[in-house]
Symmetry: C2
């Protein structure tokens, strides 16, 4: 298919044609071949006017917290309310080992076969920055195809949470009702990113869930007072992150969760914060890709390639100051 065919398929295609065009477009965007990349850039630019109308929801949590079960329950709930739901995944484990913590779409048995859902697993190679870029682009494809809820899922290991928080309108952290879990999340700086915290499996031990909720609310309060405002995506004066207990397996609490998301969405759209957040995200994304591109060009420059190993060796051996070495290598790059 040409990119014109892909465009038409995505924007106007009927069910199966559209699904096929989406898959092909995302595969094209994931390719590292220069000609594919040029085609992909053209396609994306043409799709852009059709994007931006969805709500972008990030969901993170450690393995075992029940993300798939929750997303399946949430997705079916939303489809029942008339939405079309896309689920994208960033799996940091797959970028390192080629293996995947998050597994494939068969995790969401009912959602994955529903005609109003589109599930795409994590790109399985490249740096986290590259995978995040491809996921952002896949998100635009889903939006252009009319999916009005895009869920981006990741797992609570590595730096992928920041990547997901930086591409979504709302970032949800899933926790188990275990003491100490919140300390982990605070330490990693993930709690600070959260616009909403879900305590899953609350039905198994309601007392523990209640204790965990109190603890997380107190942590969130402290972070609200002392946290780094740059890391927070909501205005503290308007939104305090809520903590919601639910049971994804029994489907209990999904409606309360969505009520809270909708309240947040209404506030953020109304006061212009969502637009500002998306603009900030686009600008950061541009600079992140520029940085990555500069570093790649530097490493691939013939003069640098020739000198890098020996210069590094001299720095390690204490024969050359690191800053002098950096300047010398930069001069070779010119």
């Amino acid at each position: 298919m040409t990119s014109v065919d892909l465009y038409a398929g995505i924007v106007q295609g009927a069910a199966l044609v559209q699904r096929r065009a989406m898959a092909k477009a995302i595969t094209l965007l994931e390719s590292t071949r220069a000609d594919h990349r040029a085609q992909g850039d053209g396609l994306l630019t043409s799709l852009l006017p059709h994007t931006g109308k969805s709500f972008r929801l990030g969901i993170s949590g450690v393995p075992g917290v029940g993300k798939s079960t929750f997303i399946e329950a949430l997705g079916l709930y939303l489809i029942d309310k008339g939405h079309r739901v896309a689920v994208l995944t960033i799996d940091p484990s797959s970028t390192v080992s080629g293996g995947s913590i998050l597994g494939d779409k068969t995790r969401m048995e009912h959602l994955s076969v529903h005609e109003k859902a589109y599930i795409r697993p994590s790109p399985s190679s490249g740096t986290l920055g590259g995978v995040a870029e491809k996921t952002r682009e896949a998100m635009l494809v889903c939006e252009a195809a009319g999916y009005d809820i895009v869920i981006v899922e990741t797992v609570g290991v590595g730096q992928s949470e920041t990547a997901v928080a930086n591409m979504t309108d709302m970032f949800v952290l899933m926790q188990l009702p275990n003491a100490g879990d919140d300390l982990q999340a605070i330490k990693k700086g993930v709690m600070e990113l959260a616009d909403l915290v879900v305590i899953n499996k609350a039905d198994i031990d309601p007392d523990a869930a209640t204790r965990a909720r109190a603890q997380i609310m107190s942590s969130l309060r402290l972070l609200g007072l002392h946290g780094n405002p740059e890391n927070m995506h909501h205005d503290q004066a308007i939104w305090h992150p809520q903590v919601i207990q639910l049971s994804a397996l029994k489907g209990e609490g999904v409606d309360r969760f969505w009520a809270s998301v909708s309240e947040y969405r209404g506030l953020q759209s109304g006061n212009g914060c969502m637009k500002a957040r998306r603009q900030q995200q686009a600008k950061s994304w541009m600079w992140e890709r520029i940085d990555a591109g500069l570093k790649q060009r530097f490493r691939e420059h013939p003069n640098v390639r020739t000198a890098l190993a020996e210069t590094t060796q001299q720095v390690l051996a204490g024969g050359l100051p690191a800053s002098t070495a950096a300047r010398a290598l930069l001069d070779l790059f010119d």
Copy 2:
């Protein structure tokens, strides 16, 4: 003075000559003029064989924790034991506002006039990366001049703690005996960097100090179990971060503090960890300067300068995908 004179003054000069040469050398290294930079690179490379023999101690803590009082007490204690002590400062507030949280050398009344001490305030302009680079280079000058203890001090706001931990052999975090202080430090990721924690002003409320110590030890234990090993500078199997109560004002506990530092230093030198840490630091430093240099060259490139504002505007307005914009700007840079 030529850089040959500076070299001679620093390495062989008698007291006043040496002090004057050090000040001139550091000023030269802080200059952004290209000819100064070239001279400075030459000087640093010639000094390098005389460096690396000191112990590099990083000290951080929020304003009011008593850093100056502690460093004055520690410096005088060390001079009394036959050491020569240099104190360098990284003040993130001065890089942003031109103002300084840490103030000037008059903060350390007795130490600043001692002939066996050399105190140099923070470079007062530039990015944090630039300031950190200048401080690293000043550290090499002090070492070449025979200072065998170099203390690099910073304040617990901004990202400067990471910079200091990345240029020293041991990173000490100072805390007040206040509940919640440790949560702040964990959240900011600073607790994780600490090889040793000092609770200052322990004499004012010994019970609170004891509680704070228990709390911090428990946090450190959790971080040891679950923290990111990349952020830790010591091997958990060999060194568990200690927590020491003291009163800098009364000079109580400085000897216990130094005993602990010496134990750490002995372990880290003996097992090769200190050498490995310094090599890792030098390599990171080189890449950090390369990244900064690449970004600067990119921003200053005539084609990029011409296009950047409009391209950014298109990205913000939603007319151009961020990744496409990044690739277009990178193509202009070539």
